[in-house]
Amino acid sequence: MHCTRCDCQDPKYFVVIRGLTICRRCISYNGNEGNVLSVGNEIEIDLPFELTPSQQIASHRIADAAQKRDVLVKAVCGAGKTELVMETIRRFLTEGKTIGVAIARRQVVLQLSERFRQAFPGVQVSEVCEGHTKQLSGQLIVCTTHQLFRFPNAFDCLILDEPDAFPFKGNDVLHGFSRIACRGTFIYLSATPDRELLMKVKKNECELVAINQRPHGAALPVPHLVQMPKTFHRLILIAWMRRTRTPQLIFVPTIDQAERLAKFFRLKFVTSHSEDIEETLRQFTAGNLKRLICTTVLERGLTFAHVQVAVMSADHVVFDASSLTQISGRVGRSMDDPSGEVLFLFDAKTKGIRRCINDIKKANASA
């Protein structure tokens, strides 16, 4: 335990006030800022479950490598990427360094910061995203990639979640933000790394840590493919909805289609334009809503227990291989219920569907 401002190590100077440890030796140097200074003390991870041996090995490998160079963590959906980087976060925070987690989706920022808050009791976690931009200081910053411009040269390590996803993918402005914000190393977390990242690994600029197995050891669910003319899609969906258990998530490619389908089935729907996203998702997680229609806003990062998934018009252009892999990765994420069903409905097989199936089968085979 040592103070990050005056490097004091004597425990008699430290007091704990409302969960925050502060150093009283240098407290009067606070000047007019009036901020409570946190002490870089030994931080512990508090998880409700134990990591599997393979997860532990991987998490220590990441933590070791992140001190020196960039790391690409290639893990299948639901492999526990968040848990894998917790060891790294713990080490950086213990050393009094700043670490940030940048995510493309606002919804995931809120869910993830809550998980970090539970896992690191006593650490000040700040979420920074649209609507939460007042509190910019904190030991651990969880933000959307759009907010990275607020932290120039701030992070010793920046964890980029899903750098291959919209809107980060191919956006030069956001790439620039992330380069300016991070003065140390990057950790990329992805289930479906794009060619750019894989090239980095090939050029040996970046260390690769791959995990092809979920913590419960069960195989990834392989999607059922149903190729039919468009006319029959709704009929098949009705049959699927009756046959499989709830809760069910139905993915559609466009907002317009989400609205029409929701009207047809009298279900709630979630798109990037709906205002009551948080409330709807809360109801869905609580089990008050059995079925939910959504666009790709929910394709990544979120965890719903026991969920089953159907994809309407899986041949649409928005559903590329990585997007489809992520969607099928929503299923079977909880430890006690690793099974689940994924259904792809389309009328023409695309490259994306073929590659998604291949990727999942390959990961299952190598696990």
């Binding site: 007091v15 006030i17 409302r18 030796r25 407290i27 009067s28 606070n30 009036g34 409570v36």
Partner: protein, 217 residues
């Protein structure tokens, strides 16, 4: 809440020296304290009633350089632990003296309290174990030390009283941390006066200049 004084604590809260440093034999054996003798001797006790603007205020210390440094560290640098050192040696006496009273706090601006994370006056006086009635509020943060005397008297306009009913028939003890001109205390007392059965005033520190010019009671 933060850590309170513990029996096993061995060091001074201010200089972090041995707790026994600079203490007389009597103090060492009979009087517990949270700060060492050297630091305690730098506080200048007042312990009298002073008449401030026609109001009888009981002051515990002179508001001198030491006191203002400590108040700055406590209130501006948010050193919540320091709150114990103001009342500690006199706690027993004060509890006896003000038995049966209801505490009313001289308000600080809400933004200030939120920024600190604790109520500066309340934290000092919770040790008295009296029921606390936070029925006064201040609506804007006017910097008193920088404003001129005319502005200082206008503070009454920024103070508001709510939940008056709970005050009726109570013996009120009005408390504050610093009393420099007494205008805030006076304004608060005037707001409470129509409801309370009796009012007593207690301030941690009183400005010596102000006291000297007045008659001691």
């Amino acid at each position: 809440m933060h850590q309170r004084y513990q029996k096993g604590q061995r060091f001074c809260l201010i200089c972090f020296d041995e707790l026994s440093a600079g203490k007389s034999l009597v103090d060492l054996w009979l009087r517990e304290d949270v700060i060492c003798g050297k630091c305690r001797s730098r506080f200048h006790p007042f312990n009298r009633i002073a008449e401030v603007m026609g109001l009888k205020v009981y002051g515990l210390y002179h508001y001198d350089e030491m006191m203002s440094t400590m108040m700055h560290q406590y209130k501006e640098c948010h050193d919540e632990t320091l709150s114990q050192c103001f009342l500690f040696p006199q706690l027993k006496r004060l509890r006896k003296r003000y038995k049966g009273c209801t505490l009313v706090l001289v308000p600080s601006a809400i933004e200030k309290t939120e920024e600190r994370g604790f109520h500066a006056v309340k934290t000092i006086f919770t040790e008295l174990n009296l029921p606390i009635l936070d029925c006064l509020s201040k609506d804007s943060d006017i910097k008193q030390s920088t404003s001129n005397p005319l502005v200082r008297h206008a503070i009454a306009a920024h103070l508001h009283l709510h939940s008056e009913d709970e005050l009726i028939g109570k013996d009120v003890l009005l408390v504050d941390d610093v009393c420099t001109t007494g205008s805030t205390m006076k304004a608060c007392a005037e707001l409470i006066l129509p409801y309370a059965a009796s009012i007593q005033c207690l301030s941690v520190s009183i400005h010596p200049l102000l006291v000297k010019s007045k008659r001691f009671l």
